[in-house]
């Protein structure tokens, strides 16, 4: 086969070059202290180690270049790799840094304007799962102290706590988590606006239906669960799992 580009164009394409965008965590460095950077990065990773393992990472040098002259990119990449990240770019550096990066096989990302507000120092984006929850969910926890009777419906924009029983034929719904410190005989739906991290906690599960972010189980599926024992329900991948507390 001839490697003539003209011929290549007329043959059946084996590849496509497309435009796409990905969300990649950005490591914003404020001070050029390699030891501190390594330690503090280690601390961040420790909070959710599996989440960050082999994660791509882009290093933002914008603040650093204002205060530091000599930046050893090779050392920085080494630290990043040590903590199981894979560096895939730098941005905000001066021409000499960009050249050094390219030489190390790391591309330079354009320093485009972000519409996000100024990132807090050393904040890694996207934030780990736990932090995201409090940003998105309006913190309006609804607390119900009386029994929820058959036919009643309760809705909470945040979390929902019920300190009594939930009768058969009633529905309780929350955009966040649901806690029932009593017997659940009705329906409980958590994460109703698409929050798959919501959980349901229940002292006594005898529910007609439980659902988290649309994934549900009905009373028949809950036959194995002994009543009277506290349980928690959560989503694992697309499976609704139940665990005794």
């Amino acid at each position: 086969m001839s490697s003539n580009p003209q011929n290549a164009a007329t043959q059946r394409p084996v590849l496509e070059l497309k435009s796409s965008s990905f969300t990649v965590p950005l490591l914003v460095l404020n001070k050029y202290d390699l030891h501190l950077i390594s330690d503090q990065l280690a601390f961040k990773v420790q909070q959710a180690p599996e989440f960050f393992k082999n994660s791509p990472l882009i290093i933002d040098l914008d603040t650093l270049v204002k205060t530091t002259k000599d930046i050893d990119l090779k050392a920085l990449f080494g630290i990043v790799r040590k903590h199981k990240f894979i560096p895939v770019g730098i941005r905000g550096g001066k021409p000499e840094h960009n050249a050094a990066a390219n030489e190390l096989g790391i591309p330079v990302q354009s320093a485009t304007q972000t519409n996000r507000p100024t990132p807090k120092p050393q904040k890694i984006e996207p934030a780990p799962v736990a932090e995201q929850q409090s940003d998105n969910v309006k913190n309006q926890t609804k607390i119900i102290t009386h029994p929820v009777r058959s036919g009643q419906r309760v809705y909470s924009h945040g979390d929902l706590i019920v300190l009594s029983q939930v009768s058969a034929g009633s529905e309780i719904m929350a955009e966040g988590n649901i806690h029932i410190y009593g017997t659940l005989r009705g329906r409980a739906l958590a994460g109703v606006q698409g929050n798959s991290n919501s959980r349901i906690f229940c002292s006594d599960l005898q529910a007609e239906l439980v659902s988290i972010d649309g994934i549900y189980k009905i009373s028949d599926d809950l036959n194995d669960i002994s009543s009277g024992k506290p349980v928690q329900l959560f989503l694992n991948e697309q499976n609704l799992e139940i665990e005794y507390l």
Binding site: H146, P147, V148, R149, S150, G151, Q152, S164, Q165, S167, A168, G169, S170, T183, R185
Partner: protein
């Protein structure tokens, strides 16, 4: 100011009218001027149970429509001069009842009466809603049977949200559980829900248990509220209930199976 009691259930046929008649008679016999009103327009029964069906001239709808005065419609009971019955209409339907109309009648009754017992129809529609709207106390009559318990639970939800007290954010209606047609024998055999089972599902204050009794049918045939049958267990149960409602501390009877004495075994029970 009168105390308005609604006798309700959700489910039909559990003993609301029997209970309304018995409670009203019980309160009146203790000297309190009591009115009992039939809210079941088109399917009236209270007049039969009270034994005044042959003296009905005007009814509840007539009074609401101002076709008759309250005094013309109220029927005084022949056995107790403190008890008055306001029958429902048999020819009209429940659309003739209005919230304001009912409120006006209750206001007028409140001026002279101490207790007003509202006998609710079955269901959760307009008739039942109007019967419970102005209530201060609710006697939720329940049979120890799953369908009745579920319906009572539904009714409790409605009481706590659609009554005047709920809408005006006042103290909520006081809810009482009356467990009727109870058979301790069947409970012991595991066929029937026990008091504890029902309490677990409803979480409600138990005012009393009324045993399944043949005397109830006899009483309704005779047009006498069963509470007047002092020999019958149902009659005694209702007397206990009236006493408890008025604040007396009466231990619960009829929950456990009675041990039949030798004479009962030889000569049969009532």
């Amino acid at each position: 100011m009168a105390r308005i009691i609604v006798v309700t259930s959700g489910k039909g046929g559990v003993g609301k009218t029997t209970t309304s008649a018995a409670i009203a008679m019980g309160l009146a016999k203790r000297g309190h001027k009591t009115a009992v009103i039939d809210f079941d327009v088109g399917l009236r029964n209270l007049d039969l149970i009270m034994g005044c069906e042959r003296r009905v001239v005007y009814d509840f709808i007539n009074v609401i429509n101002e076709e008759a005065s309250l005094n013309q419609a109220l029927i005084k009971d022949k056995r107790c001069n403190q008890l008055y019955v306001l029958p429902a209409s048999q020819t009209r339907d429940k659309d003739a009842l209005t919230l304001e109309g009912v409120g006006k009648v209750l206001d007028e009754l409140s001026k002279t009466f101490k207790y007003i017992v509202c006998d609710s129809p079955a269901g959760i529609e307009k008739g039942a809603h109007l019967a419970m709207y102005y209530a201060d106390d609710a006697f939720v009559v329940t049979n120890p049977e799953v369908a009745s318990v579920r319906d009572s639970d539904r009714m409790l939800g409605i009481l706590s949200s659609k009554s005047r007290r709920a809408e005006q954010n006042k103290d909520p209606i006081k809810e009482y559980l009356l467990l009727s047609r109870y058979s301790p024998k069947r409970v012991n055999m595991g066929e029937m829900l026990s008091v504890d089972d029902v309490q677990e599902i409803l979480s409600l204050h138990l005012l009393g248990v009324i045993p399944e009794s043949q005397s109830v049918l006899n009483a309704s045939n005779a047009g006498t509220p069963v509470i007047l049958d002092e020999q019958s267990d149902a009659g005694k149960a209702y007397q206990d209930i009236v006493a408890r409602y008025l604040g007396e501390d009466v231990p619960h009877r009829f929950i456990n199976e009675e041990k039949k004495g030798i004479f009962s075994k030889l000569f049969g029970s009532k």
